[in-house]
Symmetry: none
């Protein structure tokens, strides 16, 4: 444990379990900008982590240092050694694992996906899509297929809080709600379709398109055939070192859209969220934040 080969970062992480709430909060804050934040004055660190000055002093000693200056000098020593060392590259994500480890390879691939996907996105189209989705006067249909079902559900769950007047449609479902057939011209469909593209989803899109509804499509880099019917298409790169494709990038886009729509409807959302909080408090479904 007290081996010289151990970095202070390791040491903190190791003891993370034995720390109390405020101390853990502090520890995480230190790791956040490691090691810079630990090299400033104690008071600044405390403020940064939103804990009190004594908490910092107490934890540093708990970690086994004689005092804050002692802790700092070890940090500097580590920084010194690191700068000297031959391995200055920080290209691995899971630092404790070799770069060939799946953790690093997979993350590399996903970051690549994110980079390439975002690079192709037209921000105006994105904003336009958000505006469409945010408009409560349009009925919002959200549809996913077999794989994308979870994404659609995630999106639906959040939209439910943000706005009224929406429906979750599972394209693989044998029975579509009949009012879907009555979709109006002003309605919006958010459709998820990645390979392998599903016939049902295409049919659904055709119905929507025939009724003149707007279609926002999340698909992969090869583009679902729904693409021809969609008003706005987001194609996400989904390549991963796996037998399956990665949904992570699409998830990122979906979450960004949720955040954006939420901002557009903030007044109403706020109210709805407060109601939700109340409900949760009443049902005691959740524990108090610890």
């Amino acid at each position: 444990m007290t081996d010289a080969a151990q970095t202070i970062s390791d040491r903190i992480q190791e003891k993370l379990d034995h720390l109390t709430r405020a101390e853990r909060q502090l520890a995480l804050s230190i790791l956040e900008n490691y090691p810079a934040s630990g090299l400033g004055p104690l008071s600044a660190l405390a403020k940064d982590a939103n804990v009190s000055v004594p908490t910092v002093a107490r934890m540093v000693q708990k970690l086994g240092y004689k005092g804050y200056p002692d802790f700092q000098s070890e940090l500097r020593e580590e920084l010194r050694a690191k700068a000297k060392g031959p391995i200055a590259k920080h290209e691995t994500w899971a630092e404790a694992a070799p770069s060939e480890h799946l953790l690093n390879r997979f993350t590399d691939a996903v970051i690549d996906n994110i980079r390439l996907t975002l690079g192709q996105i037209d921000p105006d189209a994105f904003d336009e899509a958000c505006a469409l989705v945010a408009d409560p006067s349009r009925h919002l249909f959200i549809a996913g297929g077999r794989i994308t079902h979870t994404l659609a559900e995630y999106f639906f769950m959040h939209m439910q809080v943000i706005r009224p007047n929406l429906t979750h449609v599972q394209s693989t479902s044998s029975t579509w709600p009949h009012y879907l057939l009555n979709a109006k011209e002003d309605d919006v469909f958010v459709i998820f379709d990645v390979r392998r593209y599903e016939n049902n989803t295409l049919k659904l899109a055709e119905i929507a398109h025939a009724r003149g509804a707007k279609i926002v499509l999340f698909t992969d880099q090869w583009r679902s055939p729904v693409h021809h019917l969609a008003d706005i298409t987001f194609s996400c790169r989904i390549i991963a070192p796996s037998a399956w494709d990665s949904t992570t990038t699409t998830m990122l886009l979906v979450e960004t859209m949720i955040s954006s729509v939420q901002n557009l409807n903030w007044d109403e959302t706020k109210e709805r969220m407060e109601h939700l909080e109340e409900m949760f408090d009443q049902t005691k479904l959740f524990r108090k934040f610890t």
Copy 2:
């Protein structure tokens, strides 16, 4: 402080010619192990460079800083920026959008989450968890709560293809399958629990723990209370510029685990995937790949 694009190292080197002998000696010493030596006390730096204390004070002001502490805080700021790495900063993701656009801010936050999360992961623990989950002789229970339900379902969906003998439990469900109460010692629970932590999930974990089953937990950086019962915990950073937390990082880990487990069980998975393909072809649920 004047030029943002210039590092302090650059600044020192630039002025190197206009410095006197002792000052140059000091400057070179600072650059020797940069930036560590500049972050210690002034007196230590002076001693290190074999110059007097006033020389250090004089030069720092000559370089344009208000005082030694000012110089230090700039150094720390630089270190901070550098630690973020080239990927996190200095790059706009959606190139067509300004860096203040939500697309870029959100992605920045998520990349940060990924970096910090992966940095804390113990690859051995990860491999161990994958091995547990891959073992078909253990019954696999997958449980998620309100928010994490979609993640759990996504994981379950893929595990279904990879291995038999598994169950999806929705912790918020009013009725848990009765055989959950008969969980054996060798069984494995994969539990998702992020804030706000759910009491039902904790109860479920307690049952599992009481029966001696293994518990693998996916939680957030603050750690669900289930953590105390879990054999292996993955804490994912979930901060985002949004009223909600981001699940993207957790999704990344889940997908990595899926990929890893799939590799471990490849022989069987292959067979099952082929069966699945056949089924899909027969039901004509999917279109041919175009």
